[in-house]
Symmetry: C2
C-alpha cells in the first residue's frame, strides 16, 4: 500500500498477506473490508484469533488439535483403539471423519519427512506414536500420508520402525479416483490402478 | 468443521469465512495456519485488527481513510485543490496514486447509488462533496466511478448537482485498455473506443 494510506491499514494488510494463499491485493481488500465491519465484529475476530492460539493444543494421545486434554475421538469409548490411522496433519483427520466409515483412532504427525528442508524424524510426532504402540493393544497401523515423495518416504520410514514390533502396517490404496475419467488419469495413477486390480 | 474439531478453531474458521472471497475450505486452512504461528505473531495480528478499526477513520475533507484528522493528500500543499477526482472507495485512490500522474485531490463516496439495494444519495458522502465545493476554489470535478450501471448513474446524478453550480464536470475516458487485444474487447468497449476516437 502506498504512502498516502493509513499506517494501521498498511500493517493490517501485511498481516493478511502473510497468511498462505492471500496475495497483497487480496490482503488490501480484506483490510478495507475490516474497516466496514462494526467495532464489535472486529473485536470478536481479534478474540477468536488469540482464543484459538491460547486454548487449542495437541491431544496428549493422538496429537490432533483440541481444546481438551484428550480429543473427542481418543475419548470416545466406541472407537476401536486397536487400529491407528497415521496422517500428516489435522486437516486429514477431518477428511477421514467426513467418510463416516472409519471407526479407529488417529495419530497426527504434524508434517512429513523432508531431510532437504531439515524435517527429520525427531521433528515429527513419531516417538509419541511409538510410545502409544509400546503401551500395547494396537494391531494395525494404517499409513495414510499423501501419495507424494515425502508421504511415501514417511510411510516407509515408520513402517520400518513398526514391523519389527510385530504390528500389521498397511498403506492406503492407490488407483483411479471414484468418478474420475480414465482418459485424464496420469500414467502413475493408471499404472497403480492396473497393478492393484481386484477380482470382480 | 466437524464435531471432533476444537471449538475455538471452528469459531476462528467461521470468522475467516465471513471475509469476502474466502470460502469455508480456505478459512479452515487459515485457521490451522494460525495454530502454526507463534503466540506473539497471533497477538500482533489481533492487535493489527483492533488498531486499524480503532485508529482509522475518514479524512474530514476528502473522506478517504486515514489515521490523522486530515489525510496526507489533502494536507499536501503541492496538491492542486481546484481539481477533485470523485471515486467510489479508498482502493480507487490507491489506483490513481499508482499512476503518479494525478496532482489534484480526491473525494471518496464510500459506495455507488443503487436504489434497489437502498443506497440512496444520503447514504453516500455527497453532501460533504457539495460542502467542499461551496467553500469555493474548485474548478473541475472528475467523475471517476466504475464504468458500470451504478457507476454511470452515480456520475450522472452528481454531475446534475454540480453543473448548476458552474463547475466543470468531466468523466474518465472509456476505450480499449492499453496492451489489450482488439479481438477480445467486448462490443460496448469497442463501440466506446470507436465513438471517442481521436485525431492522430
Amino acid at each position: 500500500m502506498a504512502d498516502h494510506n493509513a499506517l494501521p491499514l498498511v500493517i493490517l494488510a501485511e498481516k493478511f498477506a502473510s497468511l498462505p494463499g492471500i496475495g497483497m491485493k487480496s490482503a488490501q481488500r480484506l483490510a478495507y473490508h475490516v474497516m466496514s465491519m462494526s467495532s464489535e465484529e472486529v473485536e470478536d475476530f481479534a478474540k477468536a484469533l488469540t482464543d484459538a492460539k491460547k486454548n487449542v493444543h495437541c491431544c496428549k494421545c493422538c496429537q490432533n488439535l483440541t481444546e481438551r486434554e484428550v480429543c473427542p475421538i481418543c475419548d470416545d469409548p466406541e472407537r476401536d483403539r486397536s487400529v491407528i490411522c497415521v496422517v500428516e496433519n489435522p486437516k486429514d483427520v477431518t477428511a477421514f471423519e467426513r467418510t463416516r466409515e472409519y471407526g479407529g483412532v488417529y495419530h497426527v504427525l504434524h508434517g512429513l519427512l523432508s531431510p532437504m528442508d531439515g524435517i527429520t524424524p525427531d521433528k515429527l510426532r513419531v516417538k509419541e506414536l511409538l510410545a502409544r504402540i509400546a503401551e500395547g493393544g494396537v494391531e494395525e497401523v494404517i499409513m495414510a500420508t499423501n501419495p507424494t515423495v515425502e508421504g511415501d518416504a514417511t510411510a516407509m520410514y515408520i513402517a520400518g520402525l513398526l514391523k519389527p514390533m510385530g504390528i500389521k502396517v498397511t498403506r492406503l490404496a492407490f488407483g483411479l479416483p471414484v468418478g474420475g475419467i480414465l482418459e485424464y488419469a496420469d500414467e502413475v495413477t493408471l499404472f497403480k490402478a492396473l497393478e492393484n486390480r481386484n477380482d470382480m
